[in-house]
């Protein structure tokens, strides 16, 4: 449903190296609290940056380390831009991010790596799913901020490089594929839970109870899972 006088969300775009974007119309129809969305996305970017630079630092191959450092650079640039956006709204990034640190830190502990390739897969899959989710959600933030957040999250963090690293690993060790398939299945559950957490802020803004929102966004969750399955397929892994 598109309300009158409301900016119509842009059509989904496909990014180089990633499956076609999740349709953002359904999520973009929700009205998330802008400050909450910024806080969550900025902190998630900070966490993803720390994960990616740690993964880069643990690479045994210097070219892989360089490639994943480039992913970290994009993610850090996104975080920096979000922090500036928060500041341009007269707010302090640490204060705006603070309410969301506990949830996101719990998520990070749950998916704490069991191996280097698993961590690379985490970057690829979790960033892919959460970027799709939050870019769609940002479509519902009125004004320029929503469009800026969505555009920023649609930027390719370098998924092709991550896929290449994973494919090389799978090519060199046949057992890695089954380990990664298992990891991908575990990861998607935790990542969807984290995404669902953000819907609490949406419910507040819309004035509906969280349960109503969760039913409304069920099709979107299915789209996110479908996009996740395509990422797994591309790696030859069973989702």
């Amino acid at each position: 449903m598109i309300r009158p006088g409301r900016r119509r969300p842009t059509a989904p775009r496909s990014r180089r190296g990633t499956p076609p974007r999740v349709d953002r119309i359904a999520l973009g129809d929700l009205r998330p609290d802008p400050e909450a969305l910024l806080g969550r996305v900025a902190y998630l970017r900070l966490a993803l940056f720390e994960t990616s630079s740690a993964v880069a630092g643990r690479a045994t191959d210097l070219a892989d380390r360089e490639a994943i450092t480039r992913v970290a650079a994009v993610v850090l640039e996104q975080h920096t831009e979000l922090a500036r956006l928060i500041e341009s709204n007269g707010l302090v990034p640490a204060v705006v991010m603070h309410p969301y640190t506990a949830d996101i830190d719990r998520y990070r502990r749950r998916i704490a790596e069991s191996g280097w390739h698993e961590s690379v897969l985490t970057l690829h899959l979790a960033a892919g799913l959460l970027d799709d989710f939050f870019a769609a959600l940002a479509g519902g933030v009125p004004g320029q901020d929503g469009a800026r957040i969505a555009a920023l999250l649609e930027r390719d963090i370098g998924h092709d490089a991550l896929v290449a690293v994973l494919q090389t690993g799978i090519g060199a060790d046949a057992r890695l594929a089954s380990r990664l398939a298992l990891w991908g299945r575990r990861l998607v559950g935790d990542t969807l839970l984290l995404a669902r957490g953000a819907l609490a802020d949406v419910a507040d803004a819309e004035g509906h109870p969280a349960t109503t929102e969760q039913r409304r966004v069920e099709p979107i969750m299915n789209d996110l899972i479908a996009a996740h399955s395509r990422r797994m397929d591309r790696l030859g892994l069973t989702a």
Copy 2:
């Protein structure tokens, strides 16, 4: 000695929040091997980036974490620009950096943190000393590359923010000052050793044995130590 037809090294500039720059004329008179210098500086930047993002991730205060992440962002940008400079010379960053990884990794293991504030001090002191040293050395690289590397290393990585974090820590815990004083003294020795390692490449380019170079650069080493002592003084620590 300034040779005829040679770009005269620029006068030392002072950076906001840091002690006056070490005079680069003496070091700028040496002719380092450009590829070796780029390899060392690019890998050192990658290592410093990984250290700074790890230090940021271990901050207990979210504002500190944000502040140190900004330091990591500057350092990463420097690394990225150096990698691009290497590529613009038709070379592969990982290949050019590779010969210098063992030395720098050994240095990192030697200064592996004994506490969070010690790591923050490491960022401030080691980056300060090595940036002074390599910016001066880059003055001897002919053409645009030398000037670009020097300008890049003269960029402030955010020393004021690091000093502020350290001052807050020292203010809250009187015992921290003596621990940090000890750490600073240990750090300077290892960091000077790492700088001296780079003079091996200079000796090759000039055709002098390394021992001659080391005598020639003794005054510079003393300047680096004097700048280090000023950084320690600023923190109220005995160098």
